[in-house]
């Protein structure tokens, strides 16, 4: 049991629009933190710029609201300098994947122990409604009045392409799964990406409608749990099976299919193939995958830095400035 309550992590009065998905997510984050048992003063929340990046102001932790796109790079410096901290990095889809795309992929590649939250509402909200790198082709916005002529990123694809070891997805309004994902991300050692599907009531209302409420999720999503069969549907009547190079949705009880035939989720599988297939599933043919999709152990960048320092300390005979000077070739003036 954690000694902390949700109250211990709350600070200030959030200023997001009424109905914004960020409110629900903030609640989930407070709850996850209270259950993790890490002290508020050992917690740092680093964000970039955008609506969701205001989040550190509502945390009773150490918080740093930085500059557009750089949250992952700044959080990397925080974690390296002070590895005892639990470091959360909060970005939106524009902050994390457009202006900050380079830092996103490199933080993931290095596997620095950050909990990287990507609040994905597929729109720029703070600048009042431009398309983002996760907006679908043809999306009409103020900066694309005739529809975009470019394809979006799928965050999971980008994450796996950068050798991501952890990827989870949740819906901002789905507190239990959000808390489950956030806690798993925090407990995962290494870069842990959690995509949060979040609604922007003002500029992109309804973007995640198919899964935004309970009924929708029951119909249109699958909650993946490691070790559990991939069963979904309002009455748990559907399941996922492998077919050739792909996945297929089957109805349990039809064509002789039983629960035993259904794929069992393995989040710890090193190979990304099935994780990617799950993460890319889209309606209406497939359910949207929620929960921890991938969770694989690997050495972290921060641990490796300090291990190397220890090794070199053992191997080299100089450990302070005076000893360093003595390693140089010198001559004496008498």
């Amino acid at each position: 049991m954690s000694e902390y309550s949700v109250q211990d992590f709350k600070f200030g009065q959030p200023r997001w629009c009424p109905g914004c998905g960020d409110h629900s997510f903030l609640g989930a984050l407070h709850k996850a933190m209270s259950e993790l048992g890490v002290a508020p003063h050992q917690t740092a929340v680093i964000s970039g710029i955008g609506c969701s990046s205001r989040l550190p102001y509502y945390m009773n932790t150490y918080g740093f609201h930085t500059i557009h796109g750089r949250a992952a790079a700044i959080a990397t410096g925080v974690k390296i300098a002070n590895p005892e901290l639990t470091v959360w990095q909060v970005s939106g889809d524009g902050d994390g994947l457009a202006i900050g795309g380079n830092h996103f992929i490199h933080a993931v590649r290095r596997n620095i122990d950050l909990n990287m939250i990507l609040l994905n509402n597929r729109i720029y909200g703070l600048t009042k409604g431009q398309y983002s790198p996760t907006s679908a082709r043809g999306f009409v916005s103020k900066s694309s009045p005739y529809g975009t002529v470019e394809d979006p990123f799928t965050p999971a694809e980008l994450c796996f392409g950068a050798r991501g070891r952890f990827f989870a997805r949740c819906v901002a309004t789905d507190m239990p799964v959000a808390v489950e994902c956030l806690k798993a991300a925090a407990q995962h050692k290494g870069a842990a990406v959690t995509e949060v599907l979040q609604n922007c009531v003002i500029f992109n209302n309804g973007t995640h409608d198919s899964v935004y409420n309970k009924e929708g999720r029951a119909k249109n999503s699958i909650h993946l749990v490691h070790g559990q069969p991939m069963i979904f549907g309002e009455n748990n009547e559907y399941g996922l099976m492998q077919e050739g190079f792909g996945l297929k949705v089957v109805k349990i009880g039809e064509n002789g299919i039983t629960e035993k035939d259904i794929l069992v989720h393995d989040a710890h599988c090193v190979d990304t193939t099935l994780h990617l297939k799950l993460a890319l599933m889209q309606g209406p043919e497939f359910p949207i995958a929620l929960g921890v999709i991938r969770d694989v152990d690997a050495p972290t960048y921060n641990d490796s830095i300090y291990e190397q320092i220890e090794e070199v300390k053992q191997a080299k005979k100089y450990h302070n400035f005076t000893e360093l000077l003595a390693t140089n070739e010198t001559w004496e003036i008498k």
């Binding site: 550190p56 300098a81 002070n82 380079n102 360093l324 001559w331 003036i333």
Partner: protein, 617 residues
Amino acid sequence: MAEQKNIKELDQVIVRFSGDSGDGMQLAGNIFSTISATVGNDICTFPDYPADIRAPQGVLTGVSGFQVHIGADKVLTPGDACDVLVAMNPAALKTQYKYCKPTGAIIIDSDSFGAKDLEKAEFKTSDPIAELGIKNDIISCPISSMCVESLKESGLDNKSMLRCKNMLALGIVCWIFDRDLKLAEGMIRAKFAKKPEIAEANIKVLNDGYNFGHNTHASISHTYRIESKGEKAKGLYMDINGNKATAYGLMAAAEKAGLKLFLGSYPITPATDILHELAKHKSMGVITMQAEDEIAGCASAVGAAYAGALACTSTSGPGVCLKSEAINLAVITELPLVIINVQRGGPSTGLPTKSEQTDLLQALFGRNGESPLPVIAATSPTDCFDAAYNACKIAVEHMTPIVLLTDAFIANGSAAWKLPNINDFADIKPNFVTPEMREGWTPYKRNPETGARYWAVPGTPDFMHRIGGLEKSNETGAISTAPDNHELMVKLRAEKVERIADDIPNVEVYGPEDADLLIVGFGGTYGHLREAAEELNKQGKKAAHAHFTYINPLPRNTAEVMRRYKKVVVAEQNLGQFAAFLRMKIDGFNPYQYNEVKGQPFTVANLVEAFTKIMEE
């Protein structure tokens, strides 16, 4: 029978080694300067290398040079023109002969002056010496064939044998200047400690070169000796270049401040050696991160500063452009951050391997908003150590990002450095919060003396707080767009930087009090300007010299010093950036300007000529 040797005593001598980038000219030059320093001479070196890693062999763009200035007494610059030029091929001869004094000697590898070699160097005739109109003494030595002949029993392949050419040339230079080969041999053995056969081959041809000089008297009438004189402080010395000295300054400061050293950096010429140097010293706990780009180099350092490290980022001008947004975040959040700009020729990619002082105004003003930060500029290779140390001290005591300007000239140039004692350095006291501040603490509570906010490092109980790039209330630390609060914060940040002037020394003036001309400069031009001032005084002209390390804030006595002299000239390697800054800071100040933007160091001769003209006006 005693040997007849005609030895001439010299006060100083300048040798320039030049050849293809891969010819090992820098190593030859380094050994020569170090063995000279070992016998008590003062040294100053400067490598002049091309932007190409390895241009095609023998072409004009691939020539790299390494100039060594050795003096019986103090030497301040690598020197204008050389007494001995080593030119390993026609391209080196063609591009470098202009750096040789009319009285100087030129050593060439006669084996590399064939028809093809001449063609590569774009000679039109078969007589390059006549074609260039060179009147100097030429010491023509078949360096390549001597190497191969000497090493034929060594078991080395032809390529490896020819790689020893630089040591044969060095042997000749050592003979001319009466250097003890034992010292050079020791350095070669240390350099090739893991490849003893290569070390012995190099030592063999080094001796061959020396003997060649001895046997032929190297076609010149005498050899030289530079005795050691002047009062050099007793103690241990080493040869150090500016980038290494910078890295050492950062490490010394981290130790003195009791902070973890973090460098976030991205490779860029001519600053990368700072990253290389620090990356070596993990046994001292140094953390270096080669970031994905310049932005992340700086951003990670800002994060490390927030988390309580001595955070630094090293780069050159183009990198500063990319870092400026993150630097500004450190300005508004008032976090300590050391930004090192090893200046090179600009704008844009410009002249990556050449030296300029053209980023001064960028350092001072190159950010959005009212964004004050301190700027200091190192004056010499060894001063990079002190400047880096002091930059760290200012950053963590005054809670501010600070720009340390060096340049390619002092970063790559080297000089003899007396090993310092860390106990002699000024203490560094980071402006941390203390437990008794807990009650009612807010992030912008300030140290009453310095105006610096306190550093509450994440992980400290009871000091949880939120900072960021948005303007904050001075009282509560919460986001604030209140007009009066913003103006107050703008002024508080400016005042904090101004108050650093309390902690920096006055600018010192060299030369007679009644000088007719005050020469003013900043940063890496120190040696040339001081030598020019000395030369003018030797000629009976009264010149003074004031050189600035601290640029923002300026030393308290700056205006007074500027007004003390009838004529003031600001000499700098840009179109007048420091002059413009001084005009902005000093009412009615209207100096003469001397500006050169060629990517090359000043020459003392040109300076003396220009200053004399101003004095005679």
